[in-house]
Point group: C2
Chain length 408, copies 2
Amino acid sequence: MKKNLKLGVFGFGCVGQGLYHVLNETHGVKAEIKKFCVKNRNKARIIDASYFTYNADDILNDPEIDVVVELIDDANAAFEIVKKAVENGKHVVTANKKMLAEHLEEIYELQKTYDRSILYEGAVCGSIPILRNLEEYYDNDLITSIEGIFNGSTNYILTKVFEERKNYAEALKAAQELGFAETDPSLDVKGYDPKFKLAIAITHTFGVFVRPENIINIGIDKISATDLKYARENNLTIKLVARSYKIRDEIFGFVAPQYIPTDNMLASVRNEYNAVLVEGAFAEKQVFIGKGAGSYPTGSAVLSDISALTFNYRYEYKKIAQNDGLPFSNNVLVDAVVSFPQGNLITPQDFETFKGGYQGGGFQNLHGSVPLEKLKEWAGWDNVSVILAPEINLKAVPASELVERLTA
Amino acid sequence: MKKNLKLGVFGFGCVGQGLYHVLNETHGVKAEIKKFCVKNRNKARIIDASYFTYNADDILNDPEIDVVVELIDDANAAFEIVKKAVENGKHVVTANKKMLAEHLEEIYELQKTYDRSILYEGAVCGSIPILRNLEEYYDNDLITSIEGIFNGSTNYILTKVFEERKNYAEALKAAQELGFAETDPSLDVKGYDPKFKLAIAITHTFGVFVRPENIINIGIDKISATDLKYARENNLTIKLVARSYKIRDEIFGFVAPQYIPTDNMLASVRNEYNAVLVEGAFAEKQVFIGKGAGSYPTGSAVLSDISALTFNYRYEYKKIAQNDGLPFSNNVLVDAVVSFPQGNLITPQDFETFKGGYQGGGFQNLHGSVPLEKLKEWAGWDNVSVILAPEINLKAVPASELVERLTA
């Protein structure tokens, strides 16, 4: 049952190199790398040149290669590689969250059509085995929510800003030097990266496909010195939280920063660590914490997927069968704190339910219940920062009512 | 592949009742309870009398029953039930940690001999899917340690004592009323229960079988008011930690209370929540947190095991094959804080390396590196409390050297 797999790997960056070393050092996984395909002929390579090719078809058309491991940056090129690999009868391991979020339904269909496995544990929170657990352990229909800290780079920045009082720019630079940040850091700090991961997690949690462009993301790039002061004075920290809930028969999901009490478990998740909280009707609250960024954490997830392929593992997407097309909706009210320079930019009347405010030092913050889509709009205005309250008091709202509120 | 399983359940306490309700409410798991076997004829039953039998063979000899679910207290009777069930061609789900810890090698052999599956996720930290993850995701040989808070009752007591300043007896009573404590609470507070769970975890983490009587356990029952004061003054809390490490080619494991800094992740694991930290060479640190006690958390683990049986799931015990009989040893030095009433009961000379001490209010505490077996001896002396230091600085010691130190 357990075969020795031959791998063709696209990309020889941190994760590809880490994978090479790990496979050499562990005897438990019956797999070997036959070929690396890379773009750049001139990069110094630390292993023998015979491992390398510059032609994708040398891997994709090689009948000896059982599994394609896709570790490149470019999401479009990555999808083309994955598609061709499966069409040519190969299994795939990838960790490319943007590519997966944008093509997940096609990825699902490719597996069914060609009877091949595409695994991507490393795409959602690095080393945390969340997809494997959603598939195998939480396979009945009793999960009510999934949320957490899904981005290592922004969590690193927020930790350094709060604990070491680094300024944002210094902290971002350090995250980039450590290899935690995306090539384009706005993918992290504006909340796109956690949104891609959330889209993938939603499919495995609730069995629905959501286009990432339909998920609202508010990032950490607008957080001000006033917000940090307010947090410290109130024994709070700030975390960038991705979340999704099933309420009655609708699915909701969004990414936004949130004030978190310092004695809350999420507050103790630091630096590049990620956290995933799953809540179920019977298991109640389950928390998974692990490194979400870096070559070894991602590499270990890729390694676990390769190992699973030696046992013919497949994602079964059981919840898609169970949930039969539940709709995804952004029609929710949430409690948030909005801060901006003193003035009438936003007033208590703009809130569904205004709950209080603070003014001082040229700034004000207002706190209350707001439609999510209105929060997203405010978050785009100059000098306005939006941070969810410690208790978000999420309320689903029928669409007709919400249109009234948004246009009032 | 997915069959509809008929279950015979031994026990109709909290977990049995919870399981009945859960199976009625979820449509995802293809299983139904045919029969409950109970001891007590006179207990009022909330479901129809036809479900009940008082004769174990009505389940064990019924060819229609595919899976026996064992949810009774008595470890010896439980083992006899499990053994006979498997001999009669049935699979088994159990959560009886004492029975499993005492018979794990036989449990393993029974599965091989009769080609049947015995699953027991609920036995180790309730709802946390740790065994499933050790088996399926961490299946290569790269784990270096496993540790955590493995007992909900003592964690509840310690949380109440520290956060609500309840006294120990009040907190124990509350734990019992909430159903978190074992029938005999000394199993919890003296550290036997977490030891049973550790023994099981060690087999799935490192592939060795350890007799529970060979594992050292120090409990929370000797912790004094002085210790609590010392903790509060030093921004520490106290947790009962079970741990096991692989160092070079030996396995170490023990249970003892430890001082934990209040900003450490473990400090935020409260009440009946358990935590498991797995450290691997490549995944680095992974944390799982979930409810370790109570009928729904345990019931959800039992439910996940039943669901897995509908897909013919089996533990493969891969690490037993990989690790080929690594020895278990207690030859370690650890850093600990020992406190007792003022006097010469224990002196700095009794430490391998003495690192400091404090005297006052009729008490003293001494801190330093001590052989584990000497700590266990001290922990048994009247009025002596042993709590590991925040950094335990564990050092494996060759057996010959250690004999000298213990008898010096």
